[in-house]
Symmetry: C2
Subunit: 168 residues, 2 copies
Amino acid sequence: MTASAARPDTRPSPRKRAGNGAAPRDIAGDVGLDALVGHAGYAVRRFQIWIFQDFIRTLGDVDIRPTQYSVLTVIGANPGLSQMAVAKRLGIERARLVHLLDSLEQRKLVKRIKSKADRRSHALHLTAPGETALAKFKRLAAEHERNVEAKIGKENRAHLLRILAGFT
Amino acid sequence: MTASAARPDTRPSPRKRAGNGAAPRDIAGDVGLDALVGHAGYAVRRFQIWIFQDFIRTLGDVDIRPTQYSVLTVIGANPGLSQMAVAKRLGIERARLVHLLDSLEQRKLVKRIKSKADRRSHALHLTAPGETALAKFKRLAAEHERNVEAKIGKENRAHLLRILAGFT
DNA sequence: AAAGATTGTTGTTGACGACAACAATTGTCA
DNA sequence: TGACAATTGTTGTCGTCAACAACAATCTTT
């Protein structure tokens, strides 16, 4: 959880002292991050870890991970897409998508249909149970989204989405 | 470093076309995300991928990855910390930190000193070249941070850091 | 038809998180 | 004091994931 709530910038000077190996400090209690605070990447990484764990936990009963959810969502919204198109849209490699689809196809959620137009490619579709399952996943995903709101605040979440809109 | 040639990242605009369930799909160029837009986790994941790649690229000449940089920064700011304390502070496992420190110690950037107080633990310090190297890393990290500003805007970055301050 | 590009697939590599087990050491408590 | 539990660093395994490389089948271009 990493409490560390109120911590103004007033840190007692990073006291550098070499030589002896004895420097007992509060274990995990008050370790200064100093330069690390203020790095966007670090904050985003920690936040992403939290948000993914909450997603996995909230969708734990249906055993759907964030990447699987994104694949299902894109296919559901755009039936007939090729694997290449899905991979390009989601920013994942087509080699990676192969395994993702293998798993989803084994679970009878999606199906690969050999395209008549281009016999190299597969047209991706949701199965009938896949459609109803996705509807349930979306309800759980909305619940996860409410968890995010509860964590950082409703308006902060909205603002964050606006800031990062260019990356979706 | 590969740097992802040609950067297919050139997305004209978020272009939300939500609402209707009908999905007019263009083959590869314009795939609707629909429900995926509006998920904080997706936006954060894409942003984090971008930010890490930029960090790795900007610090490419010195061959320092984000996790390594965070370890060096914490040790530099708190000399004498134990491995357990560093791991707990950064949210990484102590088993993982072992390999990270092995690498950094091989490069003569940090050193493990057997603690006199607790002979189980190691007191972590930067070496002399480690100190000067970290100074250079920090300059490059600041350059990376300016790239983030250029990408999302100065005030947006500041606001984002404020929103996510609780996760650092 | 020949050459080149694309699509799906398989495989490898390396970073990373989650666990489990272990020796050495320290802390605790009867 | 001595037995027992907890901690620290280490090693190892397993699974996820991104980045590449190579390949056969199939377009596309010339």
